[in-house]
Symmetry: C2
Subunit: 109 residues, 2 copies
């Protein structure tokens, strides 16, 4: 199965890059992370998500049809709770980068 | 050490998201991947890179100061050789997404 996001949308659309380094231990992280992915996919304007990590660095990219959709997801009450837990418990550091997708290409060999 | 890219640049700048699923075996991939990262960092307009992967999915994001810098790197002769090997040997599928970064935030807890 492909884990590469396919947005089925022509640019322009938007991407949110979330790069993070975790603290030690789980502290409810995996369970919440799965719930947040499930919830994100149900939001208006959600186009796709791809996520991978090694022992140190995680990168999750979610794709959205507008900046308004990104803002609504940021303000979602369950997501707000996760964001607070992220800052207080799960992450040592993280970066959030909001981008406008100008072009995309998918290759299958 | 932080593996999250710090571009030290205010938006707008550009991001190239490379998401890939590999074929089985190494076939010279790791060695070439390290060389390509080293070479990319030496290019004009290069701002930063972050990369992570699990057994199935790899995500590498490189940051650049202009679309011209991205185009020059795409056309670099050694990079062209790597791109051909990527299509013929290393990747089952990949996506390349070029984005304009509109805002970025880094958090250290």
């Amino acid at each position: 199965m492909s884990r590469i996001a396919k947005t089925l949308r022509k640019p322009p659309y938007y991407a949110v890059i979330f790069s993070s380094q975790r603290t030690e231990g789980d502290q409810g992280y995996q369970n919440m992370a799965e719930k947040m992915v499930e919830l994100a996919t149900q939001q208006k304007g959600f186009l796709g998500i791809e996520s991978t990590n090694d022992d140190e660095l995680g990168i999750t990219i979610s794709y959205w049809d507008s900046l308004e959709a990104i803002q609504s997801w940021k303000e979602h009450s369950a997501h707000q709770i996760a964001q607070r837990k992220g800052k207080s418990e799960w992450y040592k550091q993280f970066a959030l980068t909001v981008c406008k997708v100008e072009r995309d290409n998918f290759f299958e060999m």
